[in-house]
Amino acid sequence: MQARRAAIAVGIVGLFAIASGSGCGGSPPAIPPVPASFPVQALTTVGSTSGALQVALRSVPDPPVRGQNVGQLTLTDGSGQPVDGVTVEILPWMPSHGHGTSEAVGVTDQGGGVFIANPLYLFMAGEWQIQMKFQGAIDDTATATVEIP
């Protein structure tokens, strides 16, 4: 009798395992088009870890929303001159939850120290960090914080 019960339990577990195997990770959202212009006023401006860079972050929509956003970074040095010759990596991060997002951020160099970050997929309400890593003419990092309602 106990063997029968155990078999029933194992069978149910097996059914769930099969069902779980058919689970899906969802479909990636479409990457939004890059807007023709960004707001004049930066969403936030942060200094880099070394202090050598100032990074102005703008977004469309402004302020950023839950879901798809397009970011623009403007890099300047201590004298306010644009910084070229760097590559930029961006990682959106929810520090309180300890996770990032499912969509890798594509970064396009527009020249003149301007970079487009698309998409910034901030899919959950709360505090997000926009973690930035710079390599090339200068190796540095910076972190901007945005709040998504």
């Binding site: 577990v13 969802g26 939850h97 959950m124």
Partner: protein
């Protein structure tokens, strides 16, 4: 249907069963929210009564996200057009090893439906499987003054899919690392009324995301529950759950009803909601949901 032995139907046992029903009601509030960020339930609803040897069951829940707490603690309702519904179905199993020890297993299957600016998604899959062990030192109802005291421990295993592994965050079903927990439960009965207080500390183990090593602080959870058991063993109760981890905080309240369906089946329903008062939460989405479960027990 075979009736239970008379000793099992003593008033003390009925009341103990009522307390158990209350404890069963506690699990859903903490469990069914944001699969990417919130650990699997600390208490499995498949808790065995004294005279039960095995149990298997299923539980299903739905939760609607209604707003969120900012990092400042301010509550913000979800913007128009943004909505999220969290669904979960669990397979539950439990068995007993002697009078004092019981272990339980929970296999969750998690889905999320999300609509926000620029995207709409649905995804899901196997969540983080959790195993729990309960060691009853004393039993409620055995002594009018000494409460039932139990040590609780368990862990969730990262069998789910993380946000980073998903094509869309709606497909996230797990934390990405283990989360062991340790707790203590106190239960006492007075007449047909009961009260229980449960405290847990859990800690998610570190995980790697790309080149980043992420560590987590301890999560402290407290649950206060009380209720009333009717003569026919139908039990109604209410509970409040408070969770705190580093810069996260959330308080949830709810009500539950447990209904015996003969000697071998139990049904339970829970209605719960996160309290949307500014200052009562941090960095968490809030919502309300319902849970229904059905258990088959063997004596």
């Amino acid at each position: 249907m075979t009736r239970l032995p008379q000793r099992s139907r003593s008033p003390e046992r009925l009341l103990a069963a009522a307390v158990i029903a209350a404890a069963m009601a506690l699990a859903p509030s903490a469990a069914h929210a944001q699969a990417c960020c919130v650990g699997t339930g600390l208490v499995t609803p498949a808790r065995l009564r004294m005279f039960e040897d095995y149990a298997v069951g299923m539980q299903t829940s739905v939760r609607n996200v209604m707003g969120s707490f900012a990092s400042s603690g301010n509550y913000v309702a979800s913007p128009s057009g943004n909505n999220e519904v969290d669904l979960e179905q669990d397979l539950l199993a439990a068995t007993r090893f002697g009078r004092h020890v019981q272990v339980a297993l929970k296999v969750p299957f998690v889905e999320t439906s999300r609509n926000d600016t620029g995207s709409s998604a649905f995804g899901g899959g196997l969540g983080d499987v959790a195993a729990n062990l309960r060691y009853d030192i004393t039993f409620s109802g055995d002594d009018p003054w000494v409460p039932g005291i139990a040590i609780l421990t368990g862990a969730s295993v990262p069998t789910g899919r993380t946000v980073e592994e998903s094509r869309d965050p709606a497909g996230a079903t797990g934390l990405g690392s283990y989360e062991p927990n340790l707790g203590v439960a106190l239960e006492q009965v007075r007449g047909r009324m009961f009260l229980s207080l449960t405290g847990f500390v859990s800690k998610q183990t570190a995980r790697s995301v790309g080149s980043q090593e992420v560590s987590f602080g301890p999560r402290v959870t407290g649950v206060l529950a009380g209720g009333y058991a009717f003569a026919n063993e139908v039990t109604v109760g209410a509970f409040v759950t408070a969770m705190r981890r580093s810069d996260e905080k959330l308080v949830t309240a709810g009500a539950a009803v447990a209904v015996p369906l003969g000697d071998y089946w139990r049904a339970q329903g829970t209605l719960s909601g996160d309290l949307p008062f500014s200052g009562w939460g941090l960095n968490r989405s809030t919502g309300a949901g319902i849970t229904a479960s059905l258990l088959r027990v063997w004596l």
